[in-house]
């Protein structure tokens, strides 16, 4: 069929191909670039509007996700959100390559369990790191301490390699240190510890650490401390402890009034039971007038804390607490500043949480079915952590809650998946690809 036989107003594809030159070729490209530029403009305006209407939250209100690599397990101290690496293989070999994701607030301290494959006695497993931004952390244990994002942030003075490294460290390396692990059996060389960035440094002393702590605190200001102390008399009065803000004691609490500047108290690791202090004894906590973050340990065999007494701290911003099943949560309404709450209890009645107008993060590790309806009125909630079992059994409840709280991320540990919005990406790419393919075919025909 000759081209002359085609009707003049035939379909463009049926017309003989024409070579476009100069301005006509330029115009021929317009149908692709025009919509593309328009789409970019729309997206750009949308992003600009979003940025103007949603300024980044600051301070305590901000909650971000931290991806941690190279850890066997990680724990957020304030919300007690514990995540472990998924085990691989029947032998339970754990790969440190996969990521652990934790929800954090600025200034949260993370406990990182990092191993380099040595025995547990190597002293390179447990480290603490304070997050300032929602960045990814790549952790790696080295002979002398801990590296995060290829920067040495922790030094282990229980090892000769640690002492040697610190002795040779430059001023910049010393300033970058965030964790200092001391030996409880050997008096620390105080000269080695000079010029460290003490306001940012967490001092960790394993074992019975009264004497080592007394020595260091006599000369340097300690702002964050992790220790195991039975007798506070020897160290409690040290001038260096007056500046203490973060305290993670394993064992007894300091006597009431001894350390009143403490802002964060993470009392007692899980599994730690041998302590002379009783969890009901809140005298020391009452004295801490600046306390904003509190983790309260489970009371032996009772599994219940005196919530009414804990709630006597109206400035509390973060609370994690173990409670009996069916405990009354109404004392929490006396904590108007509460932003992060972790409730270790089964099937709690969440009705009082409606009154917490600033609650941003709620962690419910319970595996029992929980009535989530009261949370539908918690409009400030940004992150809700529920166990996988609850997520599995209460899908409809969680979907309804999500409808009521579209801004809230409900983290069930399920990971990343796609959503209906990805159709936009698919359609955009399809239009571009289809048009490119069509032009290519037309070009091929024109060439032939």
């Amino acid at each position: 069929m000759s081209t002359q036989a085609l009707p003049e107003n035939g379909h463009p594809a049926e017309r003989p191909p024409q070579r476009l030159t100069g301005r006509a070729r330029k115009l021929g490209r317009m149908p692709i670039w025009g919509p593309l530029i328009l789409a970019l403009l729309v997206v750009g305006v949308g992003v600009a509007v979003w940025l103007f209407t949603h300024p980044p939250a600051t301070g305590e209100d901000r909650i971000f996700e931290v991806a941690i690599q190279g850890c066997e397990e990680a724990c957020n101290y304030n919300s007690m959100q514990l995540k472990k690496q998924p085990s691989q293989g029947e032998q339970g070999d754990k790969s440190a390559d996969s990521k652990i994701r934790l929800w954090c607030r600025p200034g949260d301290l993370l406990r990182l369990s990092v191993t380099d494959g040595l025995t547990e006695g190597s002293g390179s497993r447990e480290w603490v790191y304070r997050v300032k931004q929602g960045t990814s952390l790549r952790c790696r244990a080295v002979e002398h301490g801990l590296c995060v994002n290829d920067c040495v942030v922790g030094v282990n003075l229980r090892k000769d390699a640690g002492k040697e490294w610190l002795g040779k460290a430059t001023a910049q390396e010393r300033a970058a240190l965030r964790v200092l692990r001391l030996d409880d059996k050997e008096a620390p060389d105080l000269e080695l510890l000079k010029d460290l960035n003490w306001p940012e440094l967490l001092v960790s002393i394993e074992g019975r650490s009264d004497k080592a702590l007394a020595l260091v605190a006599a000369k340097y200001p300690i702002h964050a401390l992790m220790c195991k102390i039975d007798n506070w008399d020897s160290a409690g009065g040290s001038p260096g402890l007056k500046s203490l803000r973060w305290l993670f004691p394993v064992g007894n609490l300091p006597p009431a009034g001894a350390l009143d500047n403490i802002e964060t108290l993470f009392w007692g690791f899980l599994g730690e039971r041998k302590t002379k202090s009783k969890a009901e004894d809140l005298a020391a906590v009452r004295g801490m007038t600046r306390l904003v973050n509190l983790h309260y340990p489970p009371v032996e065999e009772e599994g219940n804390a005196n919530l009414a007494a804990l709630a006597a701290r109206p400035g509390l911003v973060s609370l994690s607490v173990f409670l009996k099943t069916g405990s009354d949560l109404s004392p929490l309404t006396q904590l108007p500043e509460l932003r992060a709450l972790c409730l270790f209890t089964d099937s709690p009645n969440l009705e009082p949480l409606r009154q917490l107008k600033k609650l941003r993060l709620l962690s419910l590790p319970s595996k029992e079915k929980t009535n989530l309806r009261p949370l539908e009125n918690c409009k400030s909630l940004r992150v809700l952590l529920v166990s996988e079992k609850v997520a599995e059994e209460q899908k409809a409840d969680l979907a309804r809650l999500q409808q009521a709280l579209p801004d809230t991320v409900i983290d069930t540990g399920a990971g990343i998946c796609l959503g209906s919005g990805w159709v936009l990406l698919m359609l955009g790419l399809s239009i571009l690809a289809g048009r490119w393919y069509r032009r290519r075919c037309q070009g091929g025909r024109a060439g032939a």
Binding site: Q403, I410, L418, S420, G421, L424, S430, G434
Partner: protein, 212 residues
């Protein structure tokens, strides 16, 4: 020759509907994300290869702007979308109209428009050779199955039945709009108006949109 060629079995439309269902269902679980991703890619390939790249693409998608009484028809479509949105609000027990709009209104409108291009555009366009009724019903059914797949594991049976019924009826209405008003622009406008009024006041995308 043209008639039999036009009435060929629209396997590409069927494959598109199926891949969208698999995509929707795959969004439910993180471990299915690769299947979801792959089916979305297949859907995209079908739209690109047999939709956008073919010479009859404008007629297939029905994006005609030059049809008689365009403005009145457009206003009518927007009104249809608004009425559907108000009905949905009433069913949910919300205020009849949203109090203000956020940036997400733009995304919501785009997502609604994208769904219309796929179902009232491509699927309807391919099925039209088999008759208007078949085209309208197939497009509505495909859209309904996709929506149900998207919420299958996150909704109760009663909610799924409501979703299926509402989506199918709205799909029939949108299909009729394309058939009678002569362009996909009108159901697209109605769907976009519906999404803007239902989701436009939300401060962010709900969980089923990005799932990140």
């Amino acid at each position: 020759m043209n008639a039999p060629q036009a009435r060929r079995i629209p396997w590409d439309a069927g494959a598109l509907v199926l891949s969208m269902i698999v995509f929707g269902f795959g969004t439910q679980r993180a471990e299915w994300r690769w299947a979801s991703c792959a089916s979305l890619a297949v859907a995209g390939w079908i739209v690109a290869r047999w939709g956008v790249a073919v010479p009859e693409a404008p007629a297939l998608f029905g994006l005609r702007l030059r049809c008689g009484r365009f403005l009145p028809k457009l206003l009518l479509s927007l009104a249809v979308g608004a009425v559907l949105a108000i009905a949905f609000h009433a069913y949910r027990g919300w205020d009849w109209l949203p109090r203000g709009l956020t940036w997400f209104a733009v995304i919501a409108a785009l997502i609604g428009a994208a769904e219309e291009l796929i179902y009232r555009g491509y699927v309807y366009g391919r099925m039209r050779a088999w008759g208007a009724l078949c085209a309208v019903a197939t497009a509505a059914a495909g859209h309904t199955l996709y929506k149900c797949a998207l919420f299958a594991l996150a909704s109760s049976l009663a909610e799924l039945l409501f979703l299926a019924g509402a989506t199918f009826l709205a799909g029939l209405l949108f299909g009729l709009m394309r058939e009678r008003l002569g362009s996909t622009v009108f159901p697209l406008a109605a769907h976009a108006a519906f999404d803007v009024l239902v989701y436009g006041a939300w401060a962010g995308a709900p969980w089923w949109v990005w799932r990140m």
